[in-house]
């Protein structure tokens, strides 16, 4: 009888492969996914304290970084994260590549896809670029920033930083200050904080608070005084390079700094201050605040490495089953 059963199983059509997993938007994650990623990142953080920092976990895997926009911390931390996990890495920057010769994103994706990479990390100035790469390759795609849309690993490292400092996320009040309109960081981090049960207030000049953003589950205010009640003040970069000529979002940067700049007078020492970098000291944030003891800006950078290790690990080891124990064993 057992043999007959075996034959029957052989006659079944092969099960369809599970859908390829990507990290394109925080909206694709459940609260459980986020918790899993954060705890994996914590396990990796412990491994960084060892003398031998490299883990064999992703040996033989290939991670391609495809960057169409300048980036220091994101590209370097993805590259280092892949190397710490023993993956082979390749970094392609738009300048100096076939992109300069007018190659379309689809064709670049097909070219890179021909090498069968396991993960493609993409940063691109246009919303929807990671979708084009996902549709044209068989790699897992990680969005490292697509236009004003999403930057999900930034949101995860922000959560990791907050949880590490304050031991929780649920119930905290986070004020995000500045140019929300042009900020993918504001969008992803707000979504992630709301998902984890935090209260979020977006603060900025009226023209830089997008109409309808409250649908994410946050509050908005044009009064900088609204940051006073927050546990964490998250300062956004004033994206000068995205301010179109004559758009008149604010009358001037000087007026912006005077009204919405985060200065020592506007924050208390028991409030934590964060910034995704790079900072414009003297515009959105006063240098004294950035360098103060309650600033978490350097902690964020360190969190970026382990969080991105966790994302690569999670995508390539197919999810939650036994993730934490496996990581802990390797670390030990």
């Amino acid at each position: 009888m057992g043999e007959i059963k075996l034959m029957r199983e052989e006659l079944l059509p092969p099960a369809p492969p599970p859908p390829r997993r990507h990290l394109i938007s925080i909206g694709d994650l459940t609260r459980h996914d986020v918790e899993r990623l954060l705890s994996t990142a914590r396990a990796f953080e412990r491994s960084l304290d060892r003398e031998m920092k490299k883990l064999p976990t992703l040996r033989g895997r290939t991670v391609v970084n495809l960057f169409y926009e300048s980036s220091t911390r994101t590209s370097s931390s993805f590259e280092l994260a892949a190397k710490r996990l023993s993956a082979d890495t390749m970094s392609i920057k738009a300048a100096g590549s076939a992109v300069d010769k007018g190659e379309s994103l689809k064709d670049t994706a097909l070219t890179i896809g021909a090498y069968d990479p396991d993960v493609i990390v993409i940063r691109h100035p246009q919303i929807g670029a990671p979708h084009v790469v996902a549709a044209n390759t068989s790699a897992h795609v990680v969005n490292a920033g697509d236009g004003k849309h999403q930057h999900p690993t930034q949101a995860l490292l922000d959560l990791y930083t907050i949880e590490g400092e304050l031991d929780r996320i649920e119930g905290l009040h986070v004020a995000i200050v500045g140019d929300v309109l042009h900020s993918r960081v504001a969008r992803s981090t707000t979504q992630a904080l709301v998902l984890m049960g935090a209260r979020v207030t977006l603060v900025g000049p009226p023209a830089l608070l997008p109409r309808g953003i409250e649908a994410l589950g946050c509050e908005t205010s044009t009064d900088i005084g609204a940051i006073a009640a927050a546990d964490v003040v998250y300062v956004l970069r004033m994206q000068r390079e995205r301010m179109e000529e004559g758009a008149n979002y604010v009358p001037s940067l000087r007026e912006y700094s005077a009204r919405w700049g985060v200065t020592p007078e506007r924050v208390r020492p028991d409030q934590k201050v964060m910034h995704p970098g790079p900072m414009n000291r003297g515009v959105e944030i006063d240098g004294r605040v950035a360098d103060a003891a309650h600033s978490l800006i350097e902690t964020q950078v360190r969190a970026g490495l382990v969080t991105r290790m966790a994302v690569l690990y999670d995508l390539l080891t197919n999810g939650p089953v036994g993730v934490q124990t496996a990581v802990v064993e390797e670390v030990a």
Binding site: H149, R211, G212
Partner: protein
Amino acid sequence: MLFAREAPKDDLVIRGARVVDPGQGLDAMVDVRVDGGTIAQIASDVDVNGHRVVDALGLVLAPAFVDPHVHLRTPGREDEEDIASGTRAAAAGGFCAILAMPNTDPVVDSTAVLGALVEAARAQAGSELTEMAELADAGAAAFSDDGVPVASAGLMRRALQYSGVTGRRLALHCEEPSLSRGGQMHEGPVSAELGFAGYPSVAESLMVERDLSLAAYEGRPLHLLHLSAHESVEALAAAQARGVEATAEVTPHHLCLTDEAVRSLDPNLKMNPPLRAEADRAALVDGLRNGNICAIASDHAPHARHEKEVPFEAAPFGVTGLETAFSALYTHLVEPGLLPLETLLDRMSAGPARAYGLGPPRIAVGAPANLVLVDPNASWRVKEESFRTRGSSARRSARRSA
């Protein structure tokens, strides 16, 4: 410019169909006999006279459709569409006449360009008046600024005044460019979440109100192209109630879809004006039902496939629609009971013909046999390969066959 297909000179008997022509008050199970392309007899049992017999039991026979808003991309971008592929697509969608918009390269605004085309044209005015009288004599059906809205109220007033000389109405694309500039989709919660620059509904309704005010002041009729916002429908209804001779059209995609669909980031959902909120969609359906909006227009705007295989933000505006218009609307509006079939047939045929002063296709003895036969029970999957158009960007909403 108007592309009207001559009725085929066939001899034909269509038997057993539900024959519906709202303009004639006709809705009956009768046979129709066509002699040499002209309707010769409508009766419950016609003489076959040796004609070919089409068994149309269970089908609906209606006047063929008229599409007042198509981009044929000719002259200049024949890789995207040309007259042959565009009119084949129109015929497949049940249309006997289409009006082609002049935002081509070169723009159709002189008799030289017009003459190089076929028989008639519409003109595009961006910053100066075009020679409308000469163009009207050469066969332009109306004058439109589609794709390049007239920003200056003063110029719009002059154009309205001059349209009285030509006897052709202005067909206006209402968009205030300083409000819509850079906009990728409807401004609202979805654009806020996705990070797209918003194209607010007020960018349209402000211009609708301006142009209606000018039309009222000058006492001239006008036609509003592809309305998308509920504020625009309200302004139109108020102006019509005051006696302004205004007509308007709406596209199948604005009647069937909302900005929620853009969450997929599918570049085929990028169009101008953009898909708007549910309240806007509902107001457009209401306006269509009660007659404030008299015409459905596909705004068929084909693009080459590679132009739509890019990130949403980089994609051009526009979708195809000639071959899917009726099916999509039947599925989304008629089947759920939101719109009577007779109203849909009117708004796709007699409505747009009236708005442009064209003779409406009709089912009457002596009329040319411009007919469409619809199978309301068939369902089909929209596939790019089976399209006649060269554009590949069809909406995915159509499920019923025309």
